[in-house]
């Protein structure tokens, strides 16, 4: 699903965010990308999403050479990727349902189809009782669940999450991770950038360690992780050991 070869990202001024990074993520995998601040986690995700271009090297996402992708093909790439941010990025004046349904305009769905699919997505994250709530009236965990529903409502092949639990306390973070596991169990490849060591330890999933822009440990797929598209592990179960 994702392959990075000697990936380098330098910013004007000489800062090197990624230095010859190599990485491979299989379709259907669940991978944590971790490392200290400035290790290059966010930059790696931004490169996958073509929010930035590599200075050198290549990054292939779902068979597309992202760096060489013409601008006109970027929307096509992004339509296969769901994104979750630390700060949720919800539209404050839209309800939970509208926030999720809004992105389906891109797919050209009718208003009723949008609402139906948004409802299903919100139900999937356990928020079908807060459909008409505005983001400021939702807790942090609820806001992040709306953001996750928005990210998966388009049935993406790849889900990228940048510090999705950074603003949440421990129990809520575990709850969010359980949702990611459910999504992963349905076949979506999930890449989560986080510096939360305790969370990573509890989840016991493949963890890629970045430091100084290099992949210092590519991690290993745990023996227990199910192959793509199969829910070998009960999705609703507590991921904690």
């Amino acid at each position: 699903m994702i392959r990075a070869f000697n990936l380098v990202k330098r910013y004007p001024g000489g800062t090197t965010a990624l230095a010859e990074a190599n990485l491979e993520v299989e379709r259907g995998e669940f991978v944590f990308v971790t490392g200290p601040s400035g290790a290059g986690k966010t930059t790696l995700l931004r490169l996958m999403l073509r929010q930035e271009l590599p200075s050198s090297g290549q990054i292939i996402v779902n068979g597309r050479n992202v760096g060489a992708l013409p601008a006109s093909k970027v929307p096509e790439l992004r339509s296969t990727i769901g994104v979750v941010f630390q700060d949720f990025k919800l539209i404050r004046r839209k309800t939970a349902l509208e926030n999720v349904a809004y992105v389906l305009n891109v797919a050209g769905l009718s208003r009723s189809e949008q609402k139906q699919r948004a409802y299903e997505a919100l139900k999937g994250v356990g928020l079908n009782h807060r459909l008409n709530a505005l983001p400021p009236t939702l807790s942090g965990g609820e806001q992040q669940r709306v953001a996750i529903a928005r990210a998966v409502v388009t049935d993406p092949e790849l889900l990228l999450a940048d510090e999705p639990t950074g603003n949440l306390d421990g129990e809520l973070a575990v709850e969010i991770m359980r949702l990611f596991r459910e999504i992963n169990a349905r076949g979506t490849t999930v890449v989560v950038a986080t510096h939360d060591k305790e969370l990573i330890h509890r989840m016991k999933l493949r963890t890629v360690l970045l430091d100084g822009g290099k992949v210092v440990n590519a991690g290993e797929k745990p023996a227990g992780q199910p192959p793509a598209g199969t829910a070998g592990e009960p999705p609703a179960g507590d991921p904690a050991p």
């Binding site: 601008a71 929307p75 994104v83 539209i91 992105v103 305009n105 891109v106 009718s110």
Partner: protein, 306 residues
Amino acid sequence: MSARTARLRYYLSDAWEEVRHSPGVNILALTTLSAALFVAGLVLLVLANVEGWIGDRRDAVHVDVYLLEPGDAGERASLERTLAQLPGVREVRLVTREQALERYQASFGELAGVPGELESNPFPASFEVALEPGPGAAERAREVVESASGRAGVDEAVFDQGWLDQLEVWLGLARLGGLALALPIFGALVFVMASVLRLAVYARRDEIEIMLLVGATPAFVRGPFLVAGLCQGLLGAVIAVILTEVGRRLLLAYVDPSSLLAQMVAGRPLPWHFAGLLIGVSLAISLTAAFFAVRRDRDGDALLGA
């Protein structure tokens, strides 16, 4: 519902959302546009009225054949028949000395008493030769002047419409000047509108960013802003046309409608083709401004704020 219909519906509903979300910014843009178009509408109104007034004068082409006093009735009757048979002549009407005096007194109210101070009526009798209106009327009028001049009993034949030619020259220059002024004003208006609309785009940068990240093309994201711009352009032009008509009626309410000022400025409403021109220009301005307001950033990836 087809994808195209769904997209159009999204553009319209999101354009309305855009207006609802930033009412202040949109009112400012609309006011700027309407005010500028209102001024343009007033200029066009005056232009149309002056043109119409000149046209009326042109249509009423006539030659005054002033007669020697005292005149011979036989000579005058012969002259009248000759003039009536000339090509293009519609009517020959005798204006007696008394009628000429009455006309003077009716036209120059304050100076009406001046001829009375003289010993006798100073106005000569004349034939008023009216010609068929239309192109070539001026040429035929000159032929009447040639034919009448030097005939027995004729003092002078006058076709005095040179001033209308002069006025038309000035009008042409005014049109050119207006056009030369219109271009920089158009540019300035686009700049102001684009800056104002850019504020509206900036206010929605979060939504734009999200839409781009979920695979919306920049054209898709631009759509609602362009639709909002188009609606704004249409509304701005309609407001300007209405204000122009209101201004015209107000002027007619305060100024004597038969006065020269009223006739040359507000005698007739803004013609449809000028109203259409205003709407077309308004749409062009607002669409150009909206396009610049949501143009891509230099990296070619994101719109403003994304």
